[in-house]
Each structure stands twice: as C-alpha cells, then as structure tokens.
Symmetry: C2
Subunit: 662 residues, 2 copies
C-alpha cells in the first residue's frame, strides 16, 4: 500500500543517530489488562465516537466540507451565517480534526472497529478533497479569508495546523500502512518548503508544533528537506519580531529570545513545550550540543520553579502562560491539559535521548495526574483547565466557553477543542511509552498489564508484564522468549518509591539503581520471572518555601498518584476550606468512594466549625499563633486527583494546611 515503512508509533527514533534508547514498533507492545486497559477501553469505545460527533456538531468537519466545495455556505442555517464564508469556530479548528484522526489511526492499529474505520476513511477523503491544487490546505483561510493565505504567520496557525496534519498522516502510515493522507501531507509540505524553505520567506509560525511533526515526517520519509524545514522553523524563532496578542509581547510565542539562549520556560505553555519537544526531536537527529544544553536549562527551570505537583504547567489564565518562578497558585492555575501532554511528549524524547529516569518519573506523574484528570471517567467530557483547589463548587473557568464560575460539571467539549483529541491520541498510542530497546537490552518505563516484544541484536525477546499498578506495587515480568545470550533488563524505580524489592525466579536480588533504573544483565531463559515490588505507602509532599501559594500545606501521594480531598467524600459539616491535617497521623486505605477511583485514603484531621467566617484580616495579639488550630477532630478521605469532578464539581483541594503543632 505504501512505499514508506509502517509499524512505528508516534516517535520513531530507530534510525536517529543521537538516541540512547529506541522506541518499539507499535504492535510490539500490547496493553492487555489492568488500569490502563480500562481507561483505553473507554477512550476507544466512547471517546473517539464522542469526538467525531462533536467535530460534526461544532461544524468543524463542515468547515472542511465547505473548503472542499462539498457543501455550500448557503446551506448553513441563519446565524452561522455568511460571515467568514460559513466558517465556524476558532480559525485553527482543522487541527482538532487532525488530532482526532491521529487518535483514530492509532486506535485502528489496536484493533479494527468498523464504524471508526468508516469515519476515518470519510475524514481522510474529506481532507484530500479540501486541499488546493498547489498543496495549500487550511479551511479557515480557504473559506473565511480567501486570498489572505500566509498573511498572518504570527497568529494564523496555518503552519500549526499543517503540523497536526503531518502527525495524523504519519500515524495513518505507521499504524495502518496507508499513505493517502501522507500524500496530502507531502503535497502540503512541498508547498511549505517552497514558501518557507531555505530560499523562501524567513518566517516561522506563531504557534510551534510543526517542528516535531516535520522531524517525525523525516523519520518516515528520510527526505532531508523535512528535517531542514524543522530546523529552519526552530532557528528563525527568537528575533523579537512577533507581538504576541493583547499586549503579551514576543514571549507569548517564544520569539523573545533564540531558543539556544533561553534560560527560562516562558510565555504560552503549550507553545513553549511543543517547541522544546520539536527541538529535542531535532537533537536526536543532529546531536547539536547547544540545543541540548538549552533543553537541560529549560527543563531545570520548569521542574525546579514552574511545575505543579500534578505535573501540570502554566500558572496563568492570562496568556495561558508560565508564571514567574514560584508563581504557582492552586485556585487560578491554568494547567491546560494540552500543556501537560506537551510535557509528556518532551519528557519522552529527553528520556530516549539520555536514558535518565527523571524524565520517565515526570512522564508518569504527569500522565496519572495532570493529564488523566482531564477526561471524565465516562469518556465524554474533558477539563481544559485543571485546578488544584476549588472552593465551594466554583471555579474560574473550565475554558473560555464556560460561564461565570457557577457550579458546573466537566464540559462535554470546548469551543477551543484542542485538549480532548489530544488526550485521545495519547491514550490510543499509550503502549508506545511503556518500553524501549537498545542494543544492550530492554527498558521498562511504565508499568501496566502488557505483552512486549523487542528485536534485540541477539534475537527476539518476549515479555509478559502483570501488575495491578498503580493500586499495588508488585510488577511481575515473565520472560516468554529470549535469545539465550545475555542482555540487560532495565526496570524503572521511581524516585517516589522509598523501597524497591527485586526477585528473580523467587530469589531476592540486590541491584543498584542507576539514573532511576535497575539494570539486570543475564542470559535470560523463557520462563524466568522477575518481580519488582515498589513500596506504595502514602507519603506527604511538602513545597519549596518559595511556593507562597501552598505555604504550610502538604500534598498526599500514593505511588504515582497525587491524591485530593473532594467535598463529596467528607463527613457532613466538614468544609474543605477549613480543614487541617497532622502529617504524623496514620493513613488508612479503603476502597475508592468515587467511581473508578481505586483506593481511597483515610486519615484523621481537624476542621473549623461551619460558619466560622468572620474578619478577613485581624490583628495578631502578641504570642498568638499565626495559624489558628482547627478545633474539631474529623475523619478526612482523599481520592486520586484524576477522579475528581466526576460527581459534579464541588470543593476540592490537593494541598492541605498542616495543623499548628499541638
């Protein structure tokens, strides 16, 4: 069906010269059971159909039909109107279709699904029909701004949309071996290369995204122009020419400073981390030290000064941006779902490049918390913004399209619908992120019920992973096939685990953790069983003293899961705005009160009596405690953060104040 190779997942670094660890072909890993199997079942059976229906209901697919001439704007009901040629939605809405299509492609590789197959075929045909003869494709400019293509590179998102199209096309090729969409993408990329290539316009898109897409396209096509264009788009950024919008300045689009000279993650968080992700992809191909050094600098800035405990990033609604160092409010944090996904993508590439378990640890923290809190457990709703503190059922805004802070539920969709299909494509391809291989062996990064295959130089390896992770810390790996000669099995030991016990065929083995991994070299035999047991006891995390927003408070973790306290689980009369905890109190485990919430945590705490409001500021009497002890002993229940907001949105808090020492 195609002249290009198929089989790889979202990142194919099998021929990248500067990678330590290589991704496995998509079908060489299967998530078979357990926690992620269930989340992926919901994504496959519910979310993808929901997404397609929403793309239709919001006119997003119709925009492409209008561009293709398959429908006339006159057919629109009044109101959607003749303005903008009938285009409805944000001007970059095509990208939602492409992200959904990418998700669907990965999902069809997981197993055929006739209805989804039909929707995919129709969507591919629609996109091809919408493309103009010279390769240009962007339904907004085609129908709303005819004649104005490439006139607003800073804000027009045409190149951004092209990036998402390329990713969908690469997914169709890799997942299904089908190159119809890839042909569309290649025509568009030819057009881009002619327009913005080395002899073209010296510009780059206001919203980074295409950089990683072009590197990935290069990995499939080996066409050096594709890598060259990615490099050009990265190198042209940082000349302080873009003007952001609404006064945000060039930093909004990371145009304030060349990437190699940047010392801080700044501006629009998704833009920033899509950019670093593409740059890290580029480093895997070029090995450029200066760019890699910048990645280290920016990662340190993000993780030491601008990261939420959930893995979320982006402190500000204003500009959807990173804040200043330590500006990490919990009530008005933005923590856009797409920004967390961008962080996953970036950390994955840094892991492939360096083999440092810190990246896999942050991937895990972000996956189970910052990302997983977005989709409703039922698979038909998504948070765009992910707060860590909600007072009294009210929240700033779930996205720009919700109202005035009144009590609300997780929205079914968003007028800016970037997040839902981003979650879908991640979940559909999640097996990609479990394990890698190198000439020396196999590395396991994320733990889930799975079957894994890897073609080592010595011969094929097959492994079965059994675990009830993240609820239980026991991970059992059975060797199903092995070449006979020695190779290394590397198992990640998360930094959150105070203890990790290892047995091989039932015998305890002492092994050293290096850079976050246990490396066990052995001439493995079929039937060998490795058991890793990570201690999952709940632990309290405390913030750096500069994080003013959560001073004097602690957050509860159990394994990779950040926990939160939600009003629905507390006793009558306990207001989460008034609780305090004693970090020395024992923490019990109980079946999850919320649906699909696994294990709940229970502990004794304190609360002020209801109605104890009073003065906002009062004079401190000499010797008076700054923090008043809450008098009433109460029982508190915590659930995993990802499960919050599935019973309506009420009070919720991740960080809990500590009771003054009694």
């Amino acid at each position: 069906m195609s002249s290009f190779p198929a089989g790889a997942g979202p990142v194919d670094n099998s021929r990248s010269p500067h990678s330590l660890w290589r991704t496995l072909p998509l079908r060489d890993v299967a998530i078979t059971d357990g926690f992620w199997a269930e989340r992926r079942r919901v994504n496959r059976e519910v979310s993808l159909a929901h997404g397609y229906a929403q793309l239709e209901a919001t006119h997003t697919l119709r925009n492409l039909r209008l561009a293709a001439g398959l429908e006339s704007s006159a057919a629109l009901e009044s109101g959607a109107g003749p303005a903008n040629g009938g285009f409805v939605g944000y001007w970059f809405a095509d990208s939602d279709v492409y992200k959904w299509l990418e998700a669907a492609a990965w999902e069809l590789a997981n197993g055929d699904e006739p209805l989804l197959r039909t929707e995919v075929d129709a969507t591919v045909a629609l996109i091809a029909a919408a493309q103009q003869p010279d390769g240009y494709l962007d339904s907004y400019f085609q129908i709303a701004k005819p004649g104005e293509r490439w006139t607003d590179i800073d804000h027009g998102h045409e190149i951004y949309c092209a990036g998402h199209l390329i990713q969908a096309a690469v997914a169709m090729q890799r997942a299904l071996g089908e190159d119809a969409l890839l042909a569309v993408a290649l025509r568009l990329v030819d057009h881009l290369y002619a327009t913005f290539g080395p002899t073209g316009r010296d510009e780059t898109c206001g919203h980074p995204e295409i950089e990683m897409a072009l590197v990935e396209l290069y990995r499939t096509t080996r066409d050096p122009r594709h890598l060259e264009l990615a490099q050009l788009f990265i190198d042209r950024r940082g000349r302080n020419r873009m003007r952001g919008h609404a006064g945000y300045g060039a930093v909004y689009q990371q145009d304030h400073v060349p990437l190699r000279a940047a010392t801080e993650v700044a501006g629009h968080a998704v833009r920033q981390i899509y950019l670093t992700t593409g740059a890290t992809d580029l480093v895997m191909e070029t090995g450029e030290d200066a760019l890699l050094a910048a990645m280290h600098t920016l990662w340190t800035d993000m993780t030491e000064r601008k990261l939420y405990v959930t893995g979320g990033i982006g402190s500000r609604f204003d500009g959807e941006a990173f804040g200043n160092p330590y500006e990490l409010p919990t009530d008005t944090c933005y923590c856009e779902t797409c920004a967390a996904i961008a962080s996953l993508m970036w950390n994955w590439r840094l892991l492939l490049l360096t083999g440092d378990g810190r990246y896999a640890d942050l991937f895990e923290r972000t996956l189970y918390n910052g990302v997983l809190a977005s989709p409703g457990l039922e698979g038909r709703s998504y948070l765009y913004v992910n707060p860590l503190l909600v007072r009294g059922g009210r929240y700033v805004r779930a996205s720009t399209d919700t109202g005035d802070g009144a009590a609300m539920a997780r929205p079914a969709w968003h007028s800016c619908a970037c997040c839902p299909p981003n979650v879908m494509r991640l979940f559909s391809s999640l097996q990609h992120y479990l394990a890698t291989a190198s000439p020396a062996g196999v590395q396991i990064h994320q733990y889930a019920g799975a079957a894994l295959h890897a073609a080592l130089p010595a011969g094929p390896v097959a492994l079965t992973m059994q675990t009830d992770y993240p609820w239980q810390g026991a991970i059992r790996l059975r060797v199903d096939a092995a070449p006979g000669s020695a190779w290394q099995l590397a198992l990640r030991v998360p930094a959150w685990a105070p203890e990790a016990a290892l047995t091989i065929n039932g015998e305890p083995v002492a092994a050293q953790v290096a850079a976050g991994y246990l490396h066990i070299e052995r001439a493995w035999q079929a039937g060998d069983v490795v058991e890793l047991t990570l201690a999952l006891a709940p632990r309290w995390l405390r913030p750096h003293p500069r994080v003013d927003a959560v001073r004097g408070s602690l957050a509860l973790l159990r394994g990779p899961l950040v926990y939160c306290f939600e009003a629905q689980d507390q006793a009558a009369g306990v207001n989460l705005l008034d609780v305090q905890v004693d970090p020395a109190a024992p923490i019990g485990e109980a079946p999850g009160a919320a649906p699909d919430a696994g294990i709940a945590l229970e502990l004794a705490g304190f609360a002020a009596p209801e109605g104890a409001e009073g003065e906002l500021y009062s004079f401190a009497a000499p010797g008076q405690a700054v923090i008043t002890p809450a008098p009433a002993a109460v029982q508190l229940t915590a659930i995993p953060y990802y499960a919050w907001g599935n019973r309506g949105i009420s009070s919720m808090r991740v960080w809990v104040p500590v009771a003054p020492t009694s």
Copy 2:
C-alpha cells in the same frame, strides 16, 4: 455665570433626604499642610500638566478635534492611518479627557493656575465643538464608526463616556460656577433621555458609571428626569442579556442578576463598584430599603471575602474581576487603581448614608495604600495593577500595554489610561472627604493639616486641624469660631488604633467610641483645643485561614499605612523570597530610606542563604517541620507600601512568612 448653584464638591447630598451626614462646600475645607498637602502639590504642579501632555501625545485630544472637524484625519502621519477615521486608542478614550478635566476643575477651585486655566478652556471648547447638533457626543463613534451610534450598548461605552462628561461638567459648575460644559452635558443627557428614557430603548450600558453621574447631575439641576434615568439604568441591569466578552458571561458586566438580588460582588471590579456607588447615591435620594439591603450584603461580601489588606479589590487579570471568595493571590492580584478609587467612592457614600465608621476606616486604608501606591512619588507615572508580591523585579504586567515581565519601572501612562486621571481627580478634590456636617455638629473623618468651616443651624463653625498624620498620631483641633450653643464634634477613631486618648484644653476626657467615632458635645468656644492621640505602634495583621495565598504570613501596619519590604532596603545577600519574621521581635522606627517614605520600620528576621533553591517538592520525613526555619538572622527594613517601586521595580512583599516557632 450660571443658573445652577456652585460650591459643592464631588458629592452634594445637602438636599438628599436619606443622608445622615452632609458633605461640606468644597472651599469650606482647605488642606493646608502636612502629608496630603505635599501629595496634592505634586498632583497640582506635576501630574495635571503630565496628564494633559499625555492626552495630547496619545492622540486622545486629537480624537475630539477630529470629531469636531478641527483637524482632518488626512493630517495624521502614516501609521495612525485612515483606519477608524483616524481615531487612536481605546474606543472609550474620551473618558480620560473628561476625568482629567474634572481633576483640573477641582484644582482650579483650589487656586488659579494660568496654564491649567488655558488648557481647561481649550478642552471645554473642544468638547463643545465636537458635540453633534442633536446632543450626541462620542468621538470614537463619530469618526471611527459613523452611522453606528448606539449599536453596541453592551461594549460601546458611549453611555460610560457620557457619565464621565457629566461628572466633569458638574465639577466645572460646582468648582468654578461655569456652565459651558454643563450645557454640553445637558444636551447630551436630553439626547440620552430621549433615546433611553422611560419611553426609549429598554437598555443599560455595559460599563456602569453614568448612574452616579446622573444622580449628581440631579443634585445640581433638580431635574427629576436625571434621577429617573439613573434609576432606569440601574433597574434594567441583571437580566442576563449581556454576553461579557471573551466568554466571561453576563457577570462581567453585572448583568447576571438584578442588583437588588445580588449576594456577591462579582465580575469586572470597577464596573461592579461603580454600579454600587451609583446605587448608593440613588438610595440617598429615594431611601429604598431593598437597594440599601443589597448594598450591605455586597459590602460584607467584599470586605469579608474579596478584599486585599491594602484596600485593593479585583483578584484576577482575567476579566479584571473579583475572584471567588478567599481567592486573593498576592503576586497575580489585579488590584486595579480605578477599582480602589471606586471603593473609596462607594465607602464615602455609605458613610454619608449611615454614619458608620467602618466605611471611613476602609476609605482610609484604601486611600493610603491601594490608591496611593499608584502614582509615582514624582507625579509622572502610575501603576494600573497593584501587586502585593513581586519576585525578582518581575511582575505579571503593569497593564495590558507593558511587556513580558522583565524588570521595569512604573509606567508614565497606559494605553488604557483610566487610572491616572482617576487619581488626579481624587487628589484634586481630596478636601471633600475630610469632614461632614449634620444638624447636630461636625464630623471629622480623615486627619490632615486643614482649615474647616461648617454652617451649622446654630451658626458658623471654624476649625483648624494640625497634625503630622499619618506619621504621628497626635491630631490637634482648634476651634476658631463657634456659635456658642452646644454642638457635637465627632472624631473618627480608626479600628486599627489600639488606644485613643482625648484631651480638651489639655484636660483628659473619657469618651466612648460609638460606631467608630468619639462624639463630644459641648458649647464650644473659640480657642478651645481638642487633642486626639491615636496609638500608631506597628502591628502585625494575620489573614483569615481561608486566604490560602498568605497562609502562615503576616502583614505589618503602622497606623493607616500598610508596610512592605522592598529589596532596595535590605542588606546585601538578603533575598526577600527567603525571609521569615518573628512576630514577637521588637520593631524599631527610622527615617524612611525611600524618598517621601516618612518612617521606615526595622526588625530582626531570618533569611535562607542565597542560592538555596533545590527541589520544588520533596517528601516530608516523619516529624520533619513542614516549614524549614531560615537559618540566618538578618535585619529587615519595611517602608510604606505606597512608596514601593520608586527606585525601579525589584522584589517586594507585603505579607511575610512567619518563622517556625523556635
């Protein structure tokens, strides 16, 4: 010169049936010396000329010249361009001219100033020339959107601008007895009444402001249509028809609920409090209980849940809005200067209506801190946003027109220039807010070096007030003239004062404070001297435990002044991000280190060594303190918050973490 009475200040409730206390004619109070005399000198000698120059430099006056046909848009340099008919700036920029003119009018009543007089005359003539024959006046719609007047009541700000014109016209009439601008305003109000009056369009402006202006106009003209129109504009709000902007919803414009049913201050803070101010003015005329009850409810919500310690209001950049209850971040607070001024205006009217000193206390807190921090001490720069915590010289944005958070100074002006002339008109008329009279006597609300006159039913009273307030707590009042019969002198005792000592002619007098005032009834004689001494010792304020943003921190006050710690005053090596204080440590006083900063406060504290950054989140070991004590004993210096940012903008904090009990 005019058929209407002159002499009153901004609020003339001399004939309002539902006021307890009455404002004094503007010239009956003179601020003669001391703290406010100097701030007003700068405002008069520097700021007003700066404002006029900025109105010219930003093309704001030229917009009116274009509307008047006195200049042609063809005369504009390229760039300012023919777009919008040559209009430059925000579509509501006329209001900046009107506010400046109001300030200038009050200032000319304080004493003639030939240059200012010339500018005022030119501006009045310009406004009159710009008015259309049917009374309509709005330079934006006249030149940028001809034929579109009154097509965008929600966002067009035409009625808002009319409100500011009315206030300027009333000021010209009252301060100077000149009715040329009042004639313009009356023509515009006739046009408004015909368009939006009882038989006109059933709409109200998206930005409240005109309500208070119309009540004030009624107080001058006694034309019942003016009061009627104010009432209509208030009554028509709250039908959930406005759509805010950028998805904020009707709450942005307080259209989500009828004002009488509102239980929370919400949405755009300036809009909200301009609305309550106008409504309180209306209550002074109508005595309506339902509206007054709503005012009490909203004031309680604001002061118990949504108020900064500086008197600032508006927690969010996003929508320039009030936050949810207890959402009071210090780094990303908005605290727009205009919102603080709106709060002053509202509290003043509530005080006049009720005689409750809580309103005068909040007026004082807001004046000395939330408002006074806006203007630079030199009088040529203004903060729009007033943060309580700035880390490392970076701040979110001073307003929409500054850049990317880099180190900066107080801006000279703002593209949305509402705040600077708002400060100017307040300062120019500040004597209005010092004292009131009632049939029973004279009430002193704010303390300053001043000469006061009041015409009591019993006869004229003259008082001289001498004080070095707010630096010293001694206030000396000398009776210069008195009718001979008994009357009551009421002196405010702020709630922040732990002690207040009173003497009359040197003899201590025991007097009860009732609702925030000492009431001393006596047949005062010329030469009587009353001395009130308020204890000004520095005191620590602690926050309500629900104010997560400042948990475990204290704020330092001395008298009415909130203090802050600014990097420039600390010893080398002390980083304000890492300091802690001991509330039991003695606090010394020293001459202000910053210019015009009066008295600085000095205290021993603790700091972490520089460079002690490290992990953002770390596991708390059992028994480990949640907050790590800062090891180094250091000396800390605090200056009044109003003086911050006058030596460049570096780290600054109002709330300081408390050291763990040692």
